[in-house]
């Protein structure tokens, strides 16, 4: 009875409803885009985009703008720079990514300092870096949904060409796939996903939402569609579960709830460990070894 009552109360709470909608959208988009990102071996680039986007989020706080616009602007700009540089060699790409990441965080440090001294917005740093799920203004919802829809559409459009590119870029080109255009489209979807994640679980933790569910799903799924579906389920489950636990935590330590982002990241991590254990238990299902080999 009391559980039911608390569930009803939970869903009637306005900040909770905004969190469920925007957080759920972010988790779904991150899962779908994340699978492609892990398969393209661009996890580090995804993390860097998130860190750079924190400068945009900070600027938005300083100027009193919609935070999503801030995150989005800088993530998209950084994705553009990294795609424009046309560096295909892994080592050099990593170096450039690292440098861009550092510059972005440095800028964020400056802007957050101004935000806390000039505007005495002391919560800005925590909100930008570690998320602000329960303080997302309801006015952000339409823009967040539009961003999510765009990212999902772009991701679905380039799904197959991107798979061929993950197999081999030369194979893709021989098939008439415009590899540059496809990669640019994926970078755009990545920037959109990252900005949603940054606004909900925070710029620093957005990697967990982007890479975690995808990596867990790829440990057990054998087909691309299964990987995407499983990643989406893990991302959504962790996000909604995390929101619920954070809400409940107000009762554990009265007057002082625990941060949502902590619960979400913890649930994602648990899913990753579970997937690893399952992959060990069912090696044949997970990776498709020929029958008869699993005993060794």
């Amino acid at each position: 009875m009391s559980v039911l009552l608390s569930a009803v109360e939970f869903l009637h709470n306005e900040p909770v409803r905004v969190a469920l909608i925007v957080g759920g959208g972010a988790a779904l988009v991150c899962a779908v885009v994340g699978v492609a990102t892990v398969m393209q071996r661009q996890s580090f680039a995804g993390h860097a985009l998130a860190d750079v986007s924190s400068a945009g989020g900070s600027a938005a706080y300083l100027l009193g703008l919609n935070p999503l616009l801030g995150f989005l602007g800088l993530a998209a700009a950084a994705a553009g720079v990294m795609e424009w540089s046309e560096i295909r060699e892994a080592r050099e790409r990593d170096l450039l990514t690292g440098v861009v990441l550092g510059a972005g965080l440095g800028l964020a440090a400056l802007l957050l300092y101004f935000a806390s001294t000039v505007h005495s917005a002391s919560g800005a740093a925590v909100a930008v870096l570690f998320g602000s799920m329960f303080t997302i203004p309801a006015a952000v919802v339409p823009l967040a949904l539009a961003v999510a829809l765009t990212a999902l559409t772009v991701s679905a459009l380039v799904h197959r060409p991107l798979l061929v590119s993950a197999l081999s870029v030369d194979l893709a080109r021989a098939q008439g796939i415009r590899v540059r255009a496809v990669s640019l489209a994926h970078a755009l979807a990545l920037a959109l996903a990252v900005s949603l994640a940054a606004m909900t679980v925070g710029a620093i933790l957005s990697t967990a939402l982007l890479i975690g569910p995808a990596a867990a799903a790829l440990r057990v799924a054998r087909r691309p569609a299964a990987a995407v579906a499983l990643a989406a389920a893990i991302g959504l489950g962790a996000t909604w579960g995390g929101i619920y636990l954070a809400y409940e935590s107000f009762y554990w330590t009265p007057g002082r709830g625990w941060p949502v982002s902590f619960f979400i990241v913890a649930l994602v991590f648990a899913a990753y460990l579970t997937a690893g254990a399952l992959a060990v238990r069912w090696p044949r299902r997970a990776v498709g070894l020929p029958s008869g080999c699993e005993a060794h």
Partner: protein, 273 residues
């Protein structure tokens, strides 16, 4: 009236950086012909295949594909040394399906016709036994079969394979050669297959393109693999020698060098046709 060639290469020159890697390459392939592209490491085999695919521009000359008037027929391609990630969630059958419609935008919906086509192709290359397994976990020979199916599933007029026999054991090599030979006949696709060792191919090939010095001689094996022809291509005297049932091409200089040429560069060996 003879059909137009599936591929014709005329006076092709390719420069990479400051180097002229291919100076003057001329040959043509008929539909359904099985052709070996032979040359030692660094002779420009990969470069020539990439030029045919349009990945690198020609500095001079011309490359024409059958049907180039309208939309050019697709080329099937199996790249050299693909390191396939074992973590990719792609089964052998998914790879073949991507050969069919991987360039299309949007996600794919289940289709009976598509599955049937993929099954047919998997059977044609003898891959039905490992169709459900991840591509990155298959052996080299199994991966080659799947990649051949990926390349052939759209029925291209021309199939390019870059060193598909490298890293295969003797048995897999013979099996893949026999398979490609059979498929080129069945599908009417011209096959151009690069290798640094012509030995496993001599009994299968209709034609050979021999690359050295940035130039090529092309023709039937018995016309090309001859002392006079290859000496003139290399620009110095080489001997085509038959040893223990193999043909070996050696530089006719100091005995020490001959030995080194044979041992170090595995190379220009071939069984007597």
């Amino acid at each position: 009236m003879s059909r137009s060639p599936a591929l014709s290469v005329e006076g092709a020159c390719v420069a990479l950086g400051a180097r002229l890697v291919l100076r003057d390459v001329t040959f043509a392939l008929e539909p359904g012909e099985f052709c070996a592209l032979i040359g030692s490491n660094g002779s420009g085999k990969t470069t020539l295949l990439r030029a045919i695919l349009g990945f690198v521009p020609l500095a001079a000359g011309e490359i024409r594909l059958e049907g180039a008037a309208g939309a050019p027929d697709p080329i099937g391609y199996v790249p050299q040394k693909l390191a396939l990630d074992p973590a990719l969630p792609l089964r052998a059958r998914d790879v073949v399906a991507l050969g069919l419609d991987g360039a299309r935008l949007g996600i794919s919906w289940p289709s009976k016709a598509r599955n049937a086509e993929v099954d047919r192709m998997l059977r044609a290359v003898g891959a039905e036994g490992f169709a459900e397994q991840r591509i990155g976990l298959l052996s080299g020979g199994q991966q080659q079969r799947v990649l051949v199916a990926h390349a052939l599933v759209r029925r291209p007029r021309l199939l390019l394979l870059d060193e598909p026999l490298a890293n295969l054991d003797v048995r897999s090599t013979a099996e893949i050669v026999a398979l490609l030979r059979r498929l080129s006949r069945e599908y009417g696709a011209a096959v151009l297959l690069s290798a640094h060792d012509m030995n496993p191919l001599l009994s299968a090939m209709d034609r050979i393109v021999y690359l050295a010095n940035g130039a090529a001689v092309a023709g039937r094996p018995e016309e090309v693999v001859r002392t006079e022809v290859l000496s003139s291509l290399y620009g110095y005297h080489v001997d085509v020698v038959r040893v223990h049932g193999r043909v070996v091409v050696v530089a006719a200089e100091a005995g020490e060098q001959i030995h080194e040429a044979v041992a170090r560069d595995p190379v220009h060996t071939a069984s007597v046709p």
